[in-house]
Symmetry: D2
Subunit: 297 residues, 4 copies
């Protein structure tokens, strides 16, 4: 089928390729002319036959906000907008409302798979009405991995449900990564273990902990055995923070996910104010020496 695709970055670029390989007609828009098929959102709307289906794949937050707002202006009644970015699920309702006022339908789609999705397919979690999801199904069918549909695609619930599931997916992802990483640190710290990479490699098959992420860590350790070239400084893209915030709203205890999130915050601090205060306290009551800043190199 025909699809407008807005945002041709790391994810969108590959999705266009996969959809075209699948026989769809994709007209892509991106502010960078070297990758874009059209010059503007207006031009995109003009190129598509009504009723249109437009997939938005841009950074969450203000960029998604302004894109959807602009689309509300250039699209027409009966069109359908799919937000495939990492929007917070609480933004989906307002976006759907803004579009519904113009008679435009809305689906939120959580998309997982990263740079590997081009070849392996993308895990999809979508929210919206049955009719809207049915309408976009040919697109979902091509993007999702091969195999039974229910193994790589789910219609989670009404608008917002797709991004909620994707948010939880990413919260879990944070915790999984930390779990594997803690294990790596232990293997690397123990003299008995000759080569932590070999252990991670051996875990890729037959073990209880085997997984895609586990395999990727084995691969990363093969490329850089002591991770000597990599800093521990780790950004977070929002979903981890949102997951803990939503867990608090739902009164769900999430110690693992929270630990993973806090570890990222800490990784970005040169010095922990918390630990400076702890060191200052020890000095106060115990006369324990503190490391002066000048000593700590």
């Amino acid at each position: 089928m025909q699809l407008g695709l807005i945002g041709l970055g790391k994810m969108g670029f590959n999705m266009r390729a996969r959809l075209r390989d699948g026989g769809h007609e994709v007209i892509g828009y991106d502010p960078r002319p070297e990758v874009s098929d059209v010059e503007s959102l207006e031009a995109l709307a003009a190129r598509l036959d009504a009723p249109r289906v437009v997939w938005v794949m841009v950074p969450s937050g203000t960029v998604t906000e302004s894109t959807i707002s602009e689309l509300a202006g250039v699209l027409s009644e009966g069109d359908l907008v799919i937000d495939g970015g990492n929007s917070r699920y609480t933004e989906d309702g307002p976006h759907a409302k803004m579009l519904a006022d113009k008679g435009i339908a809305f689906i939120d789609a959580g998309v997982s798979g990263g740079i590997w999705g081009l070849t392996e397919g993308y895990g999809l979690m979508v929210g919206g009405s049955d009719a809207d999801v049915e309408r976009a199904l040919p697109i979902f069918e091509t993007l999702r991995p091969p195999g039974p549909r229910e193994d790589g695609f789910v219609h989670v619930g009404p608008v917002g449900a797709g991004h909620f599931a994707k948010m939880v997916h990413n919260g879990i992802e944070y915790a999984l990564m930390t779990a594997y990483a803690e294990g790596y640190e232990m293997l690397a710290a123990e003299d008995l273990v000759k080569d932590p990479q070999a252990v991670y490699q051996a875990w890729t098959n037959g073990t209880v902990v085997r997984s895609w992420l586990q395999t990727l860590l084995a691969k990363a350790l093969k490329e850089d055995p002591n991770l000597a070239g990599i800093s521990g400084y780790t950004e977070d893209s929002g979903e981890g923070r949102w997951t803990v915030e939503e867990a608090i709203r739902l009164r769900v205890p999430v110690p693992s996910i929270a630990a993973a999130l806090f570890a990222r915050f800490l990784s970005r601090q040169d010095e922990s104010p918390t630990m400076k205060a702890v060191a200052a306290l020890r000095n106060q009551f115990g006369g324990h020496a503190v490391k002066r800043v000048s000593e700590s190199g």
Copy 2:
């Protein structure tokens, strides 16, 4: 090759089957006559051609201790004992010493895969000398999963290294399970999500969080959608506790693994004394009502 196998429980029984399928001559011993091939450890020793290779697959702790001690009596110089159970790695040195005094060699082998190992193969992590590991390699080759050897088998280091790696494997396993479980609780708590099972099913393909454990949780939720029949009471078999203890020795921070361990402790308490004390404190300073035991059903 010929192998003596001691312990024909959930794991050993299946391993005997897999090894026989692989063309090995396995003589198994178990105190339960209905599964045992011989009547005693002495009989086992007598049935095997010297130099013997004997695999011990019994519960860790006192049973392994006494089995190895007895083997030191019935085996002879030049024989090799493999401890494939979940012994703490710190016990391997003393066991190796006890056997070495009789000229008997020792390998520790961490075995992962659970009840699925029979058909899919077992992930193996072994510790010992190069010569000893080489000698037992035909056995390891049959037990491990098909595919490249390094993807399901690793000679981690000297005696103790195999069980150390298996211990860390299980510590990671605890944390992974908790991560997936926290995500499940969030999906189940959110009204937008029609069916948490469908989400878990959809994550089995294409997503970043896909894994063997993730697939098993999808399966468990299919069998019992709300886990209504299952209590949260969860035992731990030792490796999780040991992992945190060794992390402390190595000064490695393991917040995820520790959180998973503490969650199991808590799952086995009817009432948390910690939270009773917190409730008592709130009552003391704030006059906050406490729930009396009679009210709490």
Copy 3:
């Protein structure tokens, strides 16, 4: 000086008494006629000489919201409203704005001390302009504990700062309570310790961990040595949740405070869905027995 005081519950009732003892003229309003000095907010406004100072001490959220909204109607230009309840600090700005539109000033005041404040004084953290804080200072002087002003009172910053500091205070309080409670559980679990209460009693003087909360736990244990009559079910009043949410906004890692918060969530669950999922997983891969619901009685 003259003060209108709205809300004569556990906190407000005692504050009226302390203020009157301090020589202030306090006119209190509460919907319960048996404790109220006037019949309505209108009557309260009529009884006070302009320019009025009115202290709001009602439950945070909708009750505070509607009280301040009503005050905006019955008060006049030049009056001053102090919100002494546990409002989230993010609500202070909108409340201040609503009142400022009528020319009414606003102070947010975090008040600590619980039921002991009547006799010992209340710790006060306030936010507002210098002029407004100066104006209400006689009230703060009487409410705060004896001793140097800076030891029991702080003008933290502009509107919102007082409630922010109070929120952090309560977040810390959660973590302190959990710390003492974990220690209690350990003492109670160890056979060597004859009487945990005696240990807590002995810690009240000379030790590094001595504190007001610590003393209260010694007292609680004296009244009910095994806390046999108290359920661990523990409510939270909002500040703990907000503290973790604000920590996430500020990218501050707060593992202790989060652990304390999650422990409260858990204390209110009959069964942890997280642990049901963990138990289900163990059963899937290891064939480990799960405790069926019927067994868990």
Copy 4:
């Protein structure tokens, strides 16, 4: 009464002074001649009237071990040794046994109070037989803070119980320090808060969180408002590690204490291997940029 005191460091030196002020005859031994009253343990034994009471106040571990071993040689039947250092409670049994073989009695004493004990008194937690504790009571009475005996002294139980209680005390101390420190970091991160020190100062009186440690943090922040001169690098002296290990043995969940311990481990790492692995993983699946070591300054 007469007392031999071995170890005149930060703690022992002050204790000798406090005991002499209290009218006791204290003969101190320390390897540093400038503070020692006698030249050797033999000389110490010779100077004391039998039956002797000797207080050992030296670093835990090997120094305590060798001191007690040497004392077993120079003391006589009927003497009493008190270990007032921070020995792990599991060492008390073997020490008591070693001395009992010579007819020498043993008490373990946990001592809290740090450098402030000289003037304020030391919180004492002791383990041993009733008769032995009774015999040393005059010493305990002088060391403990003024006020009711049960508020600063406790006979916790048999040998080992004193050090067990002290270990838990220190575990709690770790968690309390972290709780206050997390709160400090939040106050320092929030623009609304003019001066975190002023908030900490104001909390010293009337609030729920007030404590000795809280007052010390206010003091530390007064001396160095942004803790600019203090590194977050924080040692641990063993009790925190032991507390978590014993909690695991007792199956007591201690998330707060463990979080505080892990934060110390982390404070001593230049780069977290765990976070390097997390960053490497993000790079693998998402193509997320990693910070190369050369960039991270």
